[in-house]
Symmetry: C2
DNA sequence: CGACAATATGGCACTCAGTACCCTCTGTAA
DNA sequence: TTACAGAGGGTACTGAGTGCCATATTGTCG
């Protein structure tokens, strides 16, 4: 029933546009009562994103289950759950993308959903980094970076109409974040230095010690 | 008139809460017609953030005026414009912060405003970095990082009730971003290397050339 | 001074999202 | 059969936001 409503609503949104479709239109075509619509969807916008609640729960569960993996890697993997939700239904995702671009109300709604993902990631990182010092700051900045990178890759794929490999675009985008935040095997290079490699470390004077240590560990494979 | 409405509305929001205050309540107390309210504010939420449009325009103008400054520094400075708007009215900003935290509708609205700042910054960075390669990706990730760092510093100050120096918190937060993204005079270090300084740069093997160059330029002062 | 245009404001009626409350139907257990 | 529970339907209401038109108010020209 919930799915019937979501499907009917989406179809009408594509036909007449989001704002020119009333809830009465939806329930009329679906053959149910108006009250039932709001039982399944708290708002008209929710019918456009019927699967984000589940995905958010999946992400929370995923982060609760990852053990002592590198934190940045963990949140990158968590972000990939969202990508998979999109890539599971390419046609739907592309149509929804186009719809969302055009409707301010849907853009705003999507923002609030994205924000919840970001806060989920930030909460995990805060736990890992600790509240002391700049832990919370790092957590929030990294979470924002991961979300921005993920969305960049995702949108690249969506704009292409769902052609090609979405994982590749997102992996590449997340690679930049992992690289910058120190958990990074840079593309084209082996993740650890082999014996005899000449490793030149470059850092700004006064770079914080945790970053220096993190970089070194990443290169010599002690991370 | 616009300011009278904003002031009256905010006062009522503090007294009765946002949702329990109707537009009719506002215009009744302000002594104007209901229609006039929506002439000045497209929505009830807008009355809570009456100065963001101007600030957004200021940011756009600022970015259009900065010359060939280091891009990350430029967007950090642009973000500080927002901070200054908040710190210009500490009492109001703190009250609004508390109000916004409690009202989902206001949180969502604020998100959409923050997003516009982020897109303004990203647009500037895109121009600077160029569309080719990962320019757009870097622009979006850096913009998201700057916004996240700024908001972290800002919220730290707002949570403290407006005590202390907001600039310090935001400078510190933005310092992390500038540091990570390569335009960084790390705290406590001189921004450029002096003659005879021993500068050891540390980078992962295979790090992209633009980052290495950027780091070097930042340290030896050619950027 | 008066006519007049332009802009600002108020009033009214309407659409529509979202909510509260209550009703009906259907299936199940005793 | 009654008793009950839970899903769905109907009705009426609040309140945001819009369109349209009437009414000041202001400024300018003759």
């Amino acid at each position: 029933m919930r799915e019937v409503l979501a499907r009917t609503a989406f179809q009408l949104f594509l036909e007449r546009g989001f704002e020119r479709t009333t809830v009465d239109d939806i329930v009329a075509r679906a053959g149910v009562g108006r009250r039932s619509f709001f039982r399944y969807f708290p708002s008209k916008e929710d019918a456009v994103f019927p699967d984000h609640e589940r995905c958010l729960a999946d992400m929370t569960a995923f982060l609760a289950a990852v053990g002592d993996a590198e934190p940045v890697d963990a949140v990158c993997d968590a972000a990939r759950l969202v990508l998979r939700m999109y890539s599971a239904n390419p046609e739907f995702s592309v149509q929804r993308y186009r719809l969302t671009r055009e409707v301010p109300g849907l853009r705003t709604y999507e923002l609030s959903v994205v924000r919840r993902y970001e806060q989920t990631l930030a909460g995990y990182l805060r736990d890992r980094y600790g509240e002391s010092g700049d832990g919370a700051l790092r957590a929030e900045v990294i979470a924002a970076s991961v979300v921005a990178a993920h969305n960049n890759g995702l949108r690249t794929w969506l704009r292409s109409g769902g052609e090609g490999d979405p994982e590749a675009a997102v992996d590449h985008a997340l690679g930049l974040v992992r690289q910058v935040w120190g958990s990074a095997p840079a593309e084209g290079a082996s993740p650890v230095a082999a014996d005899g490699d000449v490793v030149v470390m470059v850092a700004a004077k006064g770079a914080p010690m945790w970053r220096v240590v993190q970089q070194i560990e990443a290169v010599i494979g002690q991370g």
